[in-house]
């Protein structure tokens, strides 16, 4: 991990991405700790006020402060990103690990079947279905993403576990009589951490993008603000000449996604040991 950080540090684009992500994370923290963004719901001005010292990005139709809403949107994006990434990575690691460890066995077959089924349902339909089934529950969106996003992680982990399983130190662990699951969780899965890290950044990006689209469609966030909701409002507003919501939400979204994409790239390069071969 230390060498990964060393290599990452030498990647300027990656560090740039990390900086952007860190800035957004900081903004999120200020929202969570109650420093900023608390006035997202409050009407603090008139409709369509332009930018001013009081309203940095102007106000929306209701007279709410767009800057505060953008900040809160960042917190929403991070909240969804963290929860979805955390749980789907965990699920992907465990199920992918089991699947790879018992590959060709019935455990593997069942996990592959579940994976195949989930992969076969168009995502937005699935998200809508989950939203129906969990009518109005705020975590319906999270659940829909977690349940579908683990499959890619699991596929990658499975391949890696199959590879690691054939290595000598695993034979050694077997030879000294460790149980199957102990070997898997103590010795095999920890060796997939670098893959999980890269995959987690990719999932994070996907989660944010999906959150925005689901919220846009009204299947996402319930009470709160999301950049997707701001875009949904703006899709009608831009034709009436009001660009505040649109510019704020799309710029914030672009910056954060760009940051994450650069970081994901850099992480991938930094953890890829093949590049170092002669």
């Amino acid at each position: 991990m230390h060498s990964v950080w060393q290599r990452l540090k030498s990647d300027h684009y990656g560090m740039g991405g990390l900086l952007v992500v860190a800035l957004f994370a900081l903004a999120t923290l200020t929202v969570w700790t109650g420093l900023f963004g608390q006035g997202w719901a409050e009407v603090s001005g008139n409709s369509w006020e332009s930018t001013s010292a009081a309203h940095w990005f102007g106000t929306n139709l209701l007279g709410q402060d767009i800057f505060q809403r953008t900040l809160f949107g960042a917190a929403t994006a991070f909240e969804v990103g963290l929860v979805v990434t955390g749980f789907s990575t965990l699920l992907g690691a465990i199920l992918g690990g089991l699947s790879g460890w018992y590959s060709k066995g019935w455990v593997d077959e069942i996990i592959l079947w579940i994976k195949g089924v989930l992969d076969s349902i168009p995502f937005y339909l699935f998200a809508a279905a989950v939203a129906f089934a969990l009518q109005g529950r705020p975590w319906a969106m999270h659940l829909a993403m977690i349940v579908t996003f683990w499959t890619t992680t699991a596929r990658i982990v499975r391949g890696e576990v199959i590879r690691i399983r054939q290595q000598e130190f695993i034979e050694a662990a077997r030879a000294i009589g460790l149980s199957q699951l102990t070997i898997l969780f103590r010795h095999v899965l920890p060796n997939t951490v670098h893959i999980l890290l890269v995959q987690a950044t990719i999932v994070f990006v996907a989660a944010i993008k999906t959150e925005v689209i689901l919220s846009f469609l009204g299947l996402g966030i319930q009470d709160g603000v999301s950049w997707g909701l701001m875009l949904a409002e703006s899709s009608q507003e831009v034709l009436a000449g009001h660009f505040g919501n649109f510019i704020a939400a799309s710029a914030a979204l672009f910056l954060l996604l760009m940051g994450f994409n650069l970081l994901a790239d850099a992480l991938q390069d930094a953890t890829d040991t093949r590049g170092a071969m002669t």
Binding site: Q64, G218, A232, L239
Partner: protein
């Protein structure tokens, strides 16, 4: 035409096709008259089918006029028996459902059959409530198994061209119900052949027939066999001072429908609809509120911007309905409570919330400030509207609201958690957020007013129909031009799942409603209605209401007086397009 200028002869012989292109802000669902519940479906159904009566094209207030009926009904002395003659020689359109594919004559029996359908569970009909418990023998017919061979004493065809309806009790609104798309005449042959698919395969005798339809548009073509009834300005209620500038005079004596083809575009997004109109893709639009600012040059009086004056006609119209937010009175946290003290406290809370509600701001943000705010359920569009009514109910009074809260010993900690329901949409969410802001101004903690969002309108309806929503944001569109239609919204027995979504149940109100139900519009009834309205206000059962001002804009090429309320789709047959000689292949 350009005849003699070297045009190929074929174009001379072909009559140019006149097309009227209309933008609708929603798509109809089923086009089976028995299922024509939405404004949009009704709008189309009355063009595809015939009803016994319609409203006069130009007369305001709305006045009934025979459509398929040959005349107004003959009514018995007790007012319970109506005899209605229908026109002879009216034919259904040609369709494979009929023998040899040729449309047969429309008979009185068809009308009887069409009303029976609403009482047949197989139809999945939605109009039964109009006639339920009103017509002699109809409900019994249903309980005996909806067998079409069984006769109904109160709904009979005396001969092929005479209908007799016998009522169980006076029903002043009956004729209005016979203008509804629900009451359209449907041939049994079509049901036999198409069954449920009649909804996408209309077979009627209206002025138009269906050409094609998909989720974004429908095309209707003139029914060539539609009865020739020359247009008469006087009969239709032409009012020269208000309607003189529209050029309708040239239509006198001509035979509607004036256009050959209707192209109805279903454009739900405001922006897209406005774009389509600006680009000249449609002749007519109900202007989205977001564009009011660019369309109008003044609010009082309403005036069109100079840049549009030369190309568009313009008309403002009061929506036949209103928008309001009900408290769920069946919810003990805010409505009726068995404990008298708590019951009073709840009323104080409701009244405080009513006072905290800022109608001026609501009107300004969502209705461009030109909606009409009124107290209760008697909007300006009904004659019973009281211009001198209790305006305190719709004025914001934060001080007063706080006082009421104090009186009820309400504070941040003991205020109940309220769930504000709405179906998923951007505007609904904004309306909710504004509502929450209004309440925050009297110290209601925002986290105690929670959104309850439903993926579909049906799910929202189900939830409040089962009493699962505390604050119910609704809009009511009147079915017929009679205030009775509004008063029934708070009639106790109509509680959820009925239209009384507030579950308001005031014995006095119920008694007055019953006593007025057999009355036609009259000073006595007006007095009773106003009294009921005041009861509602005193109980603070609902934050109500606002009636939208609609703006219609249409191309000067089109001669028309558009309508979105009771006349609805009936005006389409009278639309004329000038110089529009688009030949459609």
């Amino acid at each position: 035409m350009l005849s003699g200028c070297g045009e190929p002869p074929s174009t001379q012989s072909e009559k140019p096709v006149k097309v009227y292109r209309h933008a609708m802000d929603g798509a109809p669902g089923s086009l089976d008259p028995a299922q024509a519940a939405s404004v949009y479906a009704n709008f189309m159904v009355v063009n595809l089918y015939d009803t016994l009566y319609r409203y006069k094209y130009l007369a305001r207030p709305y006045r009934l006029h025979p459509n398929l009926a040959a005349d107004m009904p003959t009514i018995s002395m007790d007012g319970l028996q109506l005899t209605i003659p229908i026109k002879k020689g009216v034919h259904f359109i040609d369709d494979p459902a009929f023998e040899n594919g040729i449309g047969r004559e429309v008979r009185a029996q068809d009308f009887v059959y069409s009303i029976k359908r609403h009482f047949d569970p197989k139809t999945r009909a939605q109009g039964a409530w109009l006639w339920q418990n009103r017509i002699e023998g109809l409900d019994e017919w249903k309980s005996r198994g909806s067998n079409y061979d069984n006769e109904i004493s109160g709904l009979r065809a005396l001969d092929d061209h005479t209908i007799q309806i016998t009522l169980t009790r006076p029903f002043p609104q009956l004729l209005h119900t016979l203008t509804q798309g629900y009451s359209s005449v449907v041939p049994q042959e079509a049901i036999d052949l198409y069954g449920q698919q009649l909804s996408s395969h209309p077979v009627g005798s209206g002025p138009y027939q269906m050409v094609s339809r998909d989720p974004v548009r429908a095309v209707l073509a003139r029914n060539p066999a539609f009865r020739a009834e020359p247009f008469d300005l006087q009969t239709e209620g032409f009012d020269k001072p208000t309607q003189g500038g529209l050029g309708l005079e040239i239509l006198q004596g001509r035979v509607p429908p004036f256009t050959d083809r209707l192209e109805l575009e279903f454009i739900t997004e405001d922006a897209a609809r406005w774009n389509a109109f600006s680009a000249g893709e449609v002749h007519f639009i109900k202007v989205p509120v977001s564009q009011f600012d660019s369309v109008l040059s003044g609010r009082d009086p309403l005036a069109l911007s100079p840049q549009f004056e030369n190309i568009y006609q313009f008309r403002a119209s009061q929506d036949a309905g209103f928008i309001y937010t009900n408290f769920n009175m069946a919810d003990e946290s805010i409505g009726y409570h068995p404990d008298q003290r708590q019951n009073d406290r709840n009323r104080l809370l409701r009244c405080a919330m009513v006072k905290a509600f800022d109608w001026e701001k609501r009107n300004e943000i969502f209705f461009y400030g030109i909606g009409r705010v009124f107290p209760g359920v008697l909007p300006p569009s009904v004659p019973e509207y009281d211009a001198n009514g209790d305006s305190g109910y719709i004025l914001r009074d934060l001080e007063g609201a706080r006082k009421l809260l104090q009186e009820g010993e309400w504070n941040e900690d003991n205020l109940p958690v309220l769930e504000y329901g709405f179906p998923n949409s951007v505007t609904e969410r904004q309306i909710f957020e504004q509502f929450r802001n209004f309440m925050m101004d009297i110290g209601y903690p925002p986290e105690k007013i929670r959104p309850l969002i439903f993926a579909t309108y049906g799910d929202y309806q189900r939830a409040y129909s089962q009493g699962k929503v505390t604050l119910i944001n609704s809009s009511w569109t009147m079915d017929y031009p009679d205030a009775e239609n509004n008063m029934q919204l708070y009639f106790g027995p109509n509680a959820a799942p009925g239209s009384n979504s507030s579950n308001y149940d005031n014995p006095e109100y119920n008694r007055l409603y019953r006593s007025a139900s057999s009355l036609h519009e009259s000073p006595e009834r007006t007095r009773i209605y106003r009294q009921m309205n005041q009861l509602l206000i005193n109980d603070c059962a609902s934050i109500t209401g606002i009636s939208r001002t609609l703006l219609f804009l249409w191309d000067k090429q089109a001669l028309m007086v558009p309508d979105r309320s009771f006349l609805g789709g009936y005006y389409l047959r009278f639309v004329e397009i000038l110089d529009s000689t688009t030949v459609v292949p």
